[in-house]
């Protein structure tokens, strides 16, 4: 399958932007929609999405696929995801390298996985099954993390690269997440970014983070830090970037 063509510079679609987009046709190359916000029966959000996706390319970005969970895949969720994709015809669909819950509980957070061979097998198998069901490759995004597991057997970037190869999926490289995790866990962000297989990366994310007393938190409510731009600019790939600016995490 051919890698999607570069789209340019995109923005996250939020309800407050609807009218400005429809009335002003702003010079944005594409919009990223949070999949779950449109996995609803009907009403204004879907009408707006229909109108905006007629004018701009869109990509779908989810937060609840829970691809690394040991709970069974949620087929109702996947059916909703597939129906939305059929409706808005995204250039690609992405979600996170994380789990959001088990035992029927959803924590609504992007929880990291241990970087083990067991997790690698588990997650790559699930990505393959999701891709088979959706009939397309998906893109997987690295998350910000605040803890590391004692049992990890490899570095995060080794896990990400091998996962993409085994599952034959795309990657969404969140440069801010690399920066936040790199600071929190004291690893080299350059090592991470250099190790990610560029041929698999279809999109970059940028966002601002907050500085707590001793660590960074991926809050999306601050301007993108200079160092994060620097990391992005160090990449030779054509840019397909979206800037996060959302509500506070803390």
């Amino acid at each position: 399958m051919e890698k999607p063509a570069p789209l340019g510079f995109g923005l996250g679609l939020r309800p407050k932007h609807y009218m400005e987009i429809l009335e002003g046709n702003p010079p944005v190359d594409w919009f990223e929609v949070i999949s779950e916000n449109y996995m609803i029966p009907g009403g204004q959000p879907l009408r707006m999405l229909d109108r905006i996706s007629e004018r701009y390319p869109v990509v779908m970005h989810g937060v609840s696929l829970s691809i690394a969970s040991t709970a069974p895949l949620d087929m109702d969720y996947l059916a909703g995801l597939k129906a939305l994709a059929s409706r808005c015809k995204p250039k690609w669909i992405s979600d996170h390298l994380c789990w959001t819950g088990v035992h029927g509980v959803n924590l609504h957070d992007l929880l990291p996985v241990p970087y083990t061979e067991e997790a690698l097998r588990h997650v790559s198998d699930r990505i393959s099954r999701v891709q088979d069901y959706l009939g397309r490759r998906i893109a997987i995004e690295n998350v910000s993390s605040y803890i590391e597991y004692e049992g990890s057997e490899m570095e995060e970037w080794e896990f990400v690269g091998e996962l993409a190869r085994r599952a034959d999926c795309w990657l969404l490289l969140d440069v801010n997440n690399v920066f936040v995790s790199g600071f929190n866990h004291d690893f080299s962000t350059h090592a991470f970014i250099d190790a990610v297989p560029a041929e698999r990366v279809v999109q970059f994310h940028l966002a601002g983070h907050s500085e707590a007393n001793t660590h960074f938190i991926d809050t999306h409510d601050e301007p993108v830090k200079e160092e994060v731009w620097d990391r992005l600019c160090a990449r030779p790939s054509p840019l397909r970037t979206r800037v996060h600016h959302d509500r506070a995490r803390r």
Binding site: P41, L46, D74, V102, H122, Y146, I147, Y149, D186, A212
Partner: protein
């Protein structure tokens, strides 16, 4: 023996939801701070995110209760109802029942009713799409067929029954005014909630119109509904009353289809 991925996720879930649960052996010594502080990022986010879902869905209730009381209530709700849905949109769906059954909130029945009204308005906002019929569509029905006509009601429409002045409270809160004191109504009141255009709306219904709408939702032909109206009050004006209801529904974009049986 190394814990499996399933073991780790089980332990992490408990460790995040129940801060007293010790999962330190699973976590590497952090580079920047203690395990407790770093895990605390997830613990804090779990509770604050669920509270934020409640506040987003129940803006008027939050305003009515006040920040501190709403936070206390949210904490109790979060403890009772972990999220079981991938979509945050549905997290607050138990709130009316929770407030009606849980002390001290159940002593103030307007709280549960405010949550119920807001939930109904939220549900109407993103209810399934349907067409809305116009007076021209109604005029196209041959007069001899009108008694057999079935009027499909828009899928966003639903009625709730309230026993407090909750609609007055909601309206005051919407205008940013000081809400009136809550009180119990002399008799239960039906409230219709639906979506018109892109906006959710509500209005009070009399008993007869409420029954008429319910029968239309059941798919009864208009002629049968008129006969039922005639039994509720003056039979001589039953047809006029039925036509008045129908006209109001068309104006409110509540009729999604006109079918001839």
């Amino acid at each position: 023996m190394k814990p499996s991925l399933a073991d780790i996720q089980h332990a992490m879930l408990k460790g995040i939801m129940h801060p007293g649960h010790n999962i330190d052996p699973l976590i590497k010594n952090p580079a920047r701070d203690t395990k407790d502080v770093m895990l605390g990022v997830y613990r804090y986010a779990y509770v604050s995110r669920l509270r934020e879902f409640l506040a987003n869905d129940h803006e008027k209730l939050s305003c009515y209760m006040g920040e501190a009381a709403f936070a206390t209530m949210s904490k109790a709700y979060v403890a009772k109802y972990p999220s079981d849905q991938p979509n945050a949109r549905w997290y607050s769906r138990h709130l009316p029942e929770f407030l009606a059954a849980t002390p001290p909130f159940k002593k103030s029945p307007e709280l549960a009713e405010l949550a119920l009204l807001e939930r109904a308005l939220n549900d109407a906002f993103d209810a399934p799409e349907a067409a809305h019929k116009t007076f021209d569509d109604l005029a196209a029905v041959p007069p001899e067929d009108i008694a057999q006509a079935q009027f499909a009601i828009h899928p966003s429409a639903r009625c709730i029954t309230v026993v407090t002045n909750v609609t007055g409270l909601w309206s005051s809160l919407r205008c940013g005014e000081q809400p009136p004191s809550p009180y119990r109504l002399d008799e239960p009141q039906e409230v219709l909630i639906w979506r018109q255009g892109s906006s959710s709306r509500f209005r009070l219904l009399g008993k007869e119109e409420s029954m008429t709408l319910a029968k239309a939702q059941e798919g009864l032909p208009f002629g049968v509904i008129c006969e039922m109206i005639a039994m509720m009050d003056d039979p001589d004006t039953a047809a006029i009353r039925a036509a008045t209801y129908l006209r109001g529904w068309i104006e409110a974009e509540l009729i999604s289809d006109i079918r001839l049986a």
